[in-house]
């Protein structure tokens, strides 16, 4: 058991160190390429009519992703409804 805990700690440490090392290669706040961000800032307000560029990106430029995220939430709700439908009723087995 102790050996497994040691391995777990080692693995997590390795992943953390490598990820920190990897992201240190990217300059935060000053990316090499900025063209897509600039496009949103310059054209977002006029093209979509919204003052809030975040919402413009989320609901216009990437609205399809937002539909996907809303679907994820809907999936979670359906999952909860399905799983809890008989947990409390004492019926334990169900034929396929």
């Amino acid at each position: 058991m102790n050996r497994k805990n040691g391995i777990t700690v080692c693995i997590i440490a390795i992943i953390a160190v490598v990820l920190i090392y990897a992201q240190s290669g990217i300059s935060f706040g000053d990316p090499v390429y900025q063209d897509m961000d600039q496009y949103f800032l310059l054209n977002g307000q006029v093209q979509t009519g919204g003052n809030n560029i975040c919402t413009d990106v989320v609901f216009d430029f990437r609205a399809f992703d937002t539909l996907g995220e809303a679907t994820v939430l809907f999936t979670a709700v359906m999952g909860v409804i399905v799983i809890f439908r008989r947990l409390m009723k004492g019926e334990e087995y169900e034929a396929e």
Binding site: I7, T8, C10, I11, I15, V18, Y21
Partner: protein, 115 residues
């Protein structure tokens, strides 16, 4: 044969027509062998039925051969292999996670160390 074409793999080929032809030829050979057999062979149960030390043969339905251990000999032969492999399938979510993270960690080391 338009429609049934040969699947060429670059090294060999596969054509269902040839396969069917081979199947038919095998059937014909079987039939020839069967024809050459002894026609007067006694097919009554007294000569083909199992001889169970003089005991009555059990009715069909009384015998059930469970399939679970059909390859007992095979698993015995690979006992040492299975002794390693089987305990890995613990059914414990933490172990599953550990394997996934472990492979990720090994690959990360490989990628960062080997340029």
């Amino acid at each position: 044969m338009n429609g049934i074409e040969t699947l060429t793999t670059g090294f060999g080929f596969w054509n269902p027509i040839f396969w069917v032809a081979g199947f038919v030829i095998a059937l014909i050979i079987t039939w020839i062998i069967w024809r050459r057999g002894e026609a007067t062979y006694n097919t009554s149960p007294s000569s083909t039925g199992p001889f169970l030390s003089g005991n009555a043969e059990p009715q069909p339905g009384e015998i059930h051969v469970p399939g679970g251990n059909l390859y007992w000999g095979f698993t015995q032969a690979l006992e040492r292999y299975y002794a390693v492999i089987k305990p890995l399938h613990t059914g414990n979510l933490a172990d599953y996670m550990l394997w996934y993270m472990g492979i990720t960690a090994i690959m990360l080391i490989l990628v960062v160390m080997v340029p």
